[in-house]
Amino acid sequence: MAEDKFDRGSALTIFKNDRQEDFIALVISLLIALLVYLFV
């Protein structure tokens, strides 16, 4: 299964690695910050 390109992540996260998860979390946060900045 490991060689399957689209079988990845672990039991805990859907991301291949935590750097990616951290990075996505940062992107979401910045996006939310931007939305809050613009619309609230």
Partner: protein
Amino acid sequence: MVYTQRTPWTLIMGVIMVAYAYLVQSGTLAAFIKYLGTGRHVGEMVALGYIFGGIAIVIGLWQLLAKTAEGHVDYYLSTVGGVIFIMLIAFVVKWVLDPQMAQWGRAARPALGFNFASVMNLNYVVMGIIAGIVTVNVFKVPSWAENGVRLSRLGLKTGVILLGTLYSFAELQQLGKLSVVLIGVFVLGSVGLVLWWGARRNLPNSMTGVLSAGVGVCGVSAAVAAAPVVQAKSTEIAYTIGTILLFGVICMFVFPIAGKALGMGYITFGAWAGTGILNSAQVAGAALAFQPEGIETLKVAEIFNITRVLFLPIIVIWLAIWYVKREVGAQKVDVGQVLISKFPVFVIGFILLFLLSSTGIFAPARHYQGSYFDNSDKVMIKKDRAGKEINNYLKDADLDLLKKDAAKVKRDDQKAALQRLIENKKLMSIEDDDTLRGVVNAKILSKEGNAVLVKAHRAVRHTAPKIAKFRDLIAWFFTFGLVGLGMQITLASIKQAGGQPLVVGSVVGVIKAVGSLIVVMVFVHETI
């Protein structure tokens, strides 16, 4: 492989959410909302109901009807079902179960002699985690939801990063110092204690090593980081993680109950939970359980969590050196490589958002740097839109209520703060405000007296709307994350708690919890 499952459930949940939002919006559910007293959540119910319901309907239809092929689209969209599943649980818990439980608590009070909902902290955070635990252990997480449940860590990390917007420099500096001292003493202390005791009891080095990391730093994370370093046997890992999970789940419920019974404030409780609870997710759970309607405790506790993460590499290196000294054939560690590989990148995100927020783009600089405190006449006496004057000083009737209740306050600092409030008809300092917030949270005064304190607090604390929005969002991210994490706590793994790790782990865990409680109560003040 194709991850999308043809299930109608995403669509059904979406329809339920949209229908609920519509019924709330149209006023059909007005009587129900009035009965539960959830009027202040109406805006949230409508907005979140439409947003998540809409997403679920679109994706649900697509999953049901479209031909799915292997790829990124399939992989990432397969998480939607689980996300909606968690959100639906969170909605039910926050908007129905939480207020209902509060009512039952009040109703049962004459019979039981105490309000069980309030004493046991049966608020939406605690019930959300319980809902997650019940879901996985009793019903099993449905297979179409599994991928989405794995996003709970992402939710928590996003919550922590966003939390960066809520701190001031002064706060971060002081909390940082406090956390480094407390964590330093208690983490290194408990790791040392386990290593010493393990050697005394002739436990295998591998077992002692993995256990010391587990009870010392951040629970399962640390055990996971240490296990390969000290070459732990499989049963040792199972005993240790089982013990930590068991201890952590108990702590998550016991800490808030104890904190309220002891009349702890936000900072003391946050510091205690951040030091004493083993697992970092459970620290967040306990902080929110202690104070579900505000975020001050969480702010303190998360700083402690971040400090713990930063301590983790130190412990791993310590254990590695310790183990190499004791066992022949143990692998030497590369210190630099450990430091880099263990560094949590999301902490950088937290700092980034903190810096962004310090520029004052989300709130006026005065609000932010001054911890939102202002009691000048400019804000105390305002004119509303119609030009009528609003005076935020306490009225004579309010003062009478406070004077009547004043005898109930026992602590000297709280007495003095209350006295100053009565004399000046307004809160005079941040310190007084924080002290009296503690009185409110511990419900020392009568209901009416509490209402007066809350009024006085609202008059001097000003929150910029953007910051308020961040708070709401952060609370939702943590709720999402904690419900999802609840779904990863299986009884099968908790049941493995046993053997020497159970004995040593619980004793050291209790020593750490009680020791940090004493230190926090004696040395930590309620103000930052």
